[in-house]
Amino acid sequence: MSYDVAIIGGGLAGTAAAYYLTGHGLTPAVLEAGELNAEASGANAGSLHFQLEHRLIAHGDALAQQVAAIIPLAKRAMALWRGLETELRAPLDVVMDGGLMLAETPEDMARLEAKQAVEARWGLDTQMLDQAQVRARLPGVADTVLGAAHCADEGHANPRLTTLAYARRAAERGARFFPHARVTATERRAGAWSLTLADGRRIRARVLVNAAGAWARDVGQLANVHIPIVPVALQMTVTEPVAPRLGHLIQHAGKALSMKQVEAGNILVGGGWPARLGDPGRRPRAFPRTIARNLATACGVWPELGRLALLRTWTGTVGVSTDQLPLIGRLSALPDYYVVGAGSGFTLGPAFAATLADQIATGRSDPQATVYSPDRFAHLNMFMGL
């Protein structure tokens, strides 16, 4: 079986890339070790967050400046999300009614103001709100909240549906999907990539895309390259469904918190709280202290959450790059080897995929995309004899 592009990883990045590649007239195959959308792409909490995140702005201005380079990608993602339900002809529960990043201390406020200046420089529209303005947008907000940064384009979408909708449409346009197809070897043969599956099948493709998320490092090693993406286990919680009462995506300037009410009425609470990486093949485990602190943080800014029931927790394993920026593009150490993933992969996933597909189809990359180029880690592969 021969394809234009072989994509390893049936998450959002790989599946959406397959969709956009078919738009360029190419025929991709998606090889997924388990089920489509089974890991971080389906297990994240579905935030569409475009403001620079707490974890990115908490470590000083220099890093914030660097990560601000993500904003052009964020703006492309915003545009894609706005049209995605129409494009994919599927309900994805996309809601972009705005997001608030809350501040509880003068330090938080100062951080938000500095953040807003960076965002303004890069063309991301955010506004500072005072306490009264926050109360108007978030009834029941705690008195400790002093203000917030507001981004009108933020919101949420349904991660359980998005990848699957991309897969259905990509398949209609000629992409092939191979679930339960673990790749055990990636080799160059006769000027193309030859992939061997665990059941012995072979797939040939001109171009190889490593979209394996938290497992991108392992997949990279099949081709003797280092991909510096590390697995991080996160835990999220969900309440019982209730009538609409939370119109915004809620984040915090100084604490790990994300909170939103989804289409079905449940409120999802997360924000980067750790779970424990389990044994291989097993889901990460949640633990009581983290669940309690996550919910205490949320109740701290929005006390009425406390009246609801916690329905479930779940965990996921997300791939994070060592510099927290995504990796999108060709690896110059190998012929026709591309990487896509890492960092805000749900919010930015459509933009990751569209950007990658453009690069593969045209052989050129946008000058701004050099920031995300995997070649920034080329030094690691000096040791791999490449």
Binding site: E35, L36, A167, A256, P274, F287, P288
Partner: protein, 507 residues
């Protein structure tokens, strides 16, 4: 038992579940000078088989008859002693295994004590005796009020002393429905029909076969025969080769449709279009078997095995009832739905393993006793195996009664057609967790306890065998909880961590 000490935060052994297995283990540990903490969701111990009336209620002849003798003795042996700590009305939401990185050698149990808040309880060893619940069977109308498990009906009857309806229909494959029908008759109910999926010859053959257990298990052999005779004497219709097909009614059940089974050519019993009968009733009680309660064990990382007719997903264990997680033990129905006698023996064996593993008792002193318990278990399992073979539900027919529009997931209101939508390419979702993500099936308040086994069966029509289905991933909290109470636990956890002088788990 000594009552709840609200400041208690540690125990050498925590036992989750105060049914026969938990009771037997608690007594044996206490006999050896180890004071266990026995935790149960019910306010009083006994488990589901001995679901006690509330303290305010006295019942003169509560659960008479030989079936209940052994578990009642185990209950009495525990209720009176002060060297067993008791925490009733408390739900264990999660168990954090030993965490050497955080400097914690033992387990930490996250316990919801209702109005008394949540707390973290440390335990060196944990025994899970979390029992079983009824196997759900999805058919049109099964969410109507008045349609319930036979066990649920029995619980209202024996604990609350209330008969929830007065014209009852039973349908199932498990002889427990005879026991409940008998108790309902005692309470003054009219039993309109008892429908067994088995054929009459199969019942007679099983009855003949059960005679070999008469010596050791006479109450379990004699009781069904006695009840069948009583039903016949009272003119209660008992139908064989018959399965439930539909419940009718708008506000609550007013009638049930039963369907005949076809076993032509020795095939697995299937539905027939003819032989459908509609029977008026105000209560429809179902009794097709049980599922082991393994959510807490699986959420703690314990390995599982699969045997649909033994209770679905079971906690994997060695001969001494150690789970795959060191220090975590499992006994009773969670390791296989084998009945109360087996549960008593399993509980004792698990307690002996805890004593030996921890060095609380030398193996020499307990070897003979252990062998005695192992023999008791073997005898109980011999009966349980025959019962299981007899009570095997008609899986093919149970698949057939689940219509495309029938709710499979009661919580999230997802139909069979809904869960099967993602089965086709390109998605080709096979794994239950993938189906869950795609459809919301199993995402509701029961956390998939009901729909999980239905889904596992629908995926492989007609069978309980083959490749084991991977269950919905279980995670703490294994039951819903008040967010205010969970959030309050954060302060408790912070204080505990400060005491220990380290803080390792925060991000």
């Amino acid at each position: 038992m000594s009552g709840d000490d609200p400041t208690a935060t540690a125990a050498p052994v925590a036992i989750v579940g105060a049914g026969p297995a938990g009771l037997a283990a608690a007594a044996l540990l206490a006999d050896h000078g180890v004071r266990p903490l026995l935790i149960d969701e019910a306010p009083r111990p006994g488990g589901q088989i001995l679901r006690q009336p509330p303290r305010e209620t006295t019942v003169e002849r509560w659960l008479p008859g030989p079936l209940y003798r052994a578990p009642k003795a185990a209950l009495r042996a525990v209720e009176d002693r002060a060297d067993i700590a008791w925490l009733g009305g408390a739900t264990v939401l999660g168990i954090d295994p030993p965490d050497p990185l955080a400097g914690r050698d033992g387990f930490e149990l996250w316990v919801d004590t209702g109005a008394r808040g949540h707390r973290l309880i440390a335990a060196e060893r944990v025994l899970l005796a979390t029992g079983a619940y009824e196997l759900p069977v999805a058919f049109p109308g099964w969410t109507l009020p008045g349609v319930m498990g036979a066990g649920a009906l029995q619980t209202v009857l024996k604990s609350q002393q209330i008969l929830p309806g007065n014209r009852l229909v039973f349908a199932g494959s498990h002889p427990l429905q005879l026991v409940v029908a008998d108790q309902a008759l005692d309470a003054g109910a009219e039993v309109a029909l008892v429908a067994f999926s088995q054929s009459r010859p199969a019942v007679l053959a099983a009855a003949a076969r059960s005679l070999r257990h008469l010596g050791r298990h006479w109450p379990k052999v004699w009781t069904p025969a006695r009840i069948l005779a009583r039903l016949a004497a009272r003119g209660v219709a008992v139908r064989f080769n018959t399965v439930v097909a539909e419940a009718h009614g708008s506000h609550s059940v007013t009638a049930a449709t039963l369907a005949g089974l076809d076993r032509a050519g020795g095939r697995a019993p299937d539905m027939t279009a003819d032989r459908r009968a509609r029977v008026a009733c105000d209560t429809l009680a179902l009794c097709y078997g049980f599922l082991a309660g393994t959510e807490l064990a699986r959420a703690t990382g314990a390995a599982w095995t699969w045997d649909l007719d033994a209770g679905g997903w079971l906690v994997a264990h060695d001969g001494a009832f150690r789970s795959s997680v060191p220090g975590l033990y499992a006994a009773g129905e969670a390791t296989g739905v084998d009945g109360a006698d087996a549960a008593l023996a399993k509980g004792r064996l698990a307690a002996r393993a805890i004593l030996a593993d921890r060095g609380w008792a030398t193996s020499d002193s307990t070897d003979a006793a252990r062998r005695r318990d192992a023999r008791a278990l073997a005898r109980a399992l011999a009966f349980a195996r025959d019962l299981r073979r007899f009570a095997r539900p008609p899986h093919r027919a149970l698949d057939r009664i689940t219509g495309a529009d029938t709710l499979v997931c009661r919580c999230e209101a997802i139909t069979r057609a809904g869960v099967e939508a993602g089965r086709q390419p390109p998605l080709a979702l096979a794994d239950m967790n993938a189906v869950k993500r795609a459809t919301r099936v199993g995402m509701g308040a029961c956390q998939g306890r009901l729909c999980g086994a239905i889904l596992a069966r629908l995926a492989r029509p007609g069978t309980g065998g083959g490749q084991p289905p991977r269950p919905f991933t279980a995670r703490m909290p294994v039951k819903p909880a008040s967010i205010a109470a969970v959030a309050a636990l954060a302060e408790h956890a912070d204080a505990a961590d400060d005491d220990r002088g380290d803080q390792t788990d925060d991000g």
